[in-house]
């Protein structure tokens, strides 16, 4: 499937950014899904998927040794699915979002596997590291980066190979109205974002008043715009 190659490359680069290099957050859903959508021919659909996934990813902190969803490759797949399944269909965004969340979960496990692999490689080269061998050190870094790049490409390709036909099948049989389908999805994404923000920031002094102030501004903008 040669049409998967650009998505594999995009997923590889964005998957690499999550932890290994350069952590510039091009792997955040709002960027990666938009890029995936653009590559599939509908940037707006990608952005919309990116916004929904970004709300859901708000609670994910890429903290050290913890295992967490890997949103980079997942968002490329989600954005590409949202664009290719046709964003005008009632079920497209929900299907793309579920595909992305499940891919993020698989991606998290693939990162865990990669870390174990890095550990095995490092253990094998430990005598050379203890001798201060520059080649051994650089070799481990380059091998780790290459493996992560490959991991990102594989996760993206597998996600698209699985979800393109499944998504097409689901969207074709979708029966709920557009407004309800979209409302449930957006409410769920918004709920995850609210709870994440609260957990992250409510400990700061007076933070509740800042939240109320922001809400007032947001509601005023909703009325006025």
């Amino acid at each position: 499937m040669p049409d998967l190659l650009p998505f594999a490359l995009l997923g590889a680069v964005f998957g690499l950014d999550v932890v290994s290099f350069p952590q510039a957050m091009i792997s955040r859903p709002i960027v990666a899904a938009t890029a995936g959508g653009a590559l599939a021919g509908d940037t707006s659909a990608g952005l919309l998927a990116g916004v929904v996934l970004e709300l859901m990813a708000m609670e994910t902190l890429p903290v050290g040794a913890s295992r967490y969803p890997e949103w980079g490759t997942a968002s490329v797949a989600g954005g590409a699915l949202a664009a290719s399944l046709g964003i005008a269909h009632a079920g497209t965004l929900a299907v793309a979002a579920l595909a992305a969340v499940l891919t993020a979960w698989v991606g998290g496990w693939s990162m865990y596997g990669l870390r174990k692999l890095n550990g095995a490689w490092a253990a094998r080269r430990l005598p050379a590291l203890e001798a201060g061998d520059r080649r051994a050190l650089a070799g481990l870094q380059i091998r780790g980066l290459t493996a992560d790049l490959t991991r990102g490409a594989l996760v993206t390709v597998v996600a698209l190979v699985v979800w393109r036909p499944v998504g097409t099948w689901l969207v074709a049989r979708w029966s709920l109205p557009f407004a309800i389908s979209r409302a449930v999805l957006v409410a769920v994404a918004g709920a995850v974002a609210w709870s994440a923000v609260w957990r992250l920031a409510h400990g700061a002094p007076s933070s509740r008043w800042y939240l109320i102030g922001g809400l007032a501004m947001g509601l005023a903008a909703m009325v006025l715009l």
């Binding site: 707006s44 964003i87 979960w105 920031a201 947001g218």
Partner: protein, 273 residues
């Protein structure tokens, strides 16, 4: 973190532009071989290596090999603030500090550089920039604006923090503990947390409203946006109630898992009914 008892350091010799650039570029890959045994260890050695070539005897000398071995052992910190450690450790090695003091510094830096970085960046700056981008989206910005705003804003902080860390680490060497008293590191997370709350209050409802409105059914598809009536209000309230439930269930249910379950149920219901 307590500063080890150390002799005063001479003024920091200037790092050549080439060495600084090489260390900075390698810092971007400091987690390239991250693993559960050494964590960032090999990345720290990899990033410090260009400076260590200036040790007596050069890259083939005994001092170089001993220093590189020391710097490639277990280390854990926030990846951006690892720059502080790389600068300080490279400076200490080049100043010929005793290995035991350098080892103590490595051990002492792990905890503070990890916890400060996590609070400042992952729990502060990242959601702050994310919410700014969502606010721009909610106010009607296009894809290029939203993405560019997020990347420029986030990376101004990201690149700035890494560059600052490498500079102050190199300048202070073994006395780098004082750097962690910097007001940005101590007070910054609290200020950013307030900004996160303010931005969240405005950005989440506005982004949700635009996502609901179907404005993305753009010209290319020739579809008129579906009228949503009272849907935004109902959706916002539902999100608030569900969000409160997730906060109440804190630690027992991760939001994304709950979201996956609800979406799966929605899809099954819509397909089989």
């Amino acid at each position: 973190m307590t500063a080890p008892s150390i002799a005063p350091l001479p003024p920091a010799p200037p790092l050549s532009w080439r060495t600084w650039a090489a260390m900075f570029a390698r810092l971007l890959a400091v987690q390239g071989a991250w693993n559960y045994e050494l964590m960032l260890g090999t990345g720290i050695g990899f990033a410090a290596e260009p400076a260590l070539r200036s040790l007596p005897g050069g890259p083939t000398g005994e001092a170089y090999h001993a220093a590189l071995a020391r710097q490639s052992r277990y280390f854990n910190a926030h990846p951006y603030l690892a720059a502080v450690a790389v600068g300080a450790l490279a400076r200490a090695e080049l100043a010929g500090q005793p290995p035991a003091q350098i080892e103590r510094l490595r051990t002492a830096m792990c905890g503070p550089l990890g916890s400060v970085g996590d609070r400042l960046v992952w729990a502060g700056w990242l959601p702050c920039c994310s919410l700014t981008a969502l606010l721009a989206y909610g106010l009607g910005a296009g894809a290029v604006t939203v993405v560019a705003l997020f990347l420029v804003l986030y990376n101004a902080g990201h690149i700035g923090l890494r560059a600052w860390g490498l500079r102050v680490g190199w300048r202070n060497g073994l006395r780098v503990a004082a750097v962690l008293a910097n007001p940005v590191l101590r007070q910054g997370p609290q200020y950013i947390a307030r900004a996160v709350m303010l931005l969240a209050g405005a950005a989440i409802p506005l982004a949700m409203r635009r996502a609901l409105a179907g404005v993305h059914l753009a010209s290319s598809l020739n579809v008129v946006p579906t009228p949503v009536g009272r849907t935004p209000v109902v959706t916002l309230l539902a999100a608030a109630v569900l969000g409160a439930a997730l906060v109440w269930l804190h630690g027992r249910v991760e939001g994304w898992r709950g979201a996956a379950l609800i979406l799966a149920a929605l899809i099954i219901f819509s397909v089989v009914r």
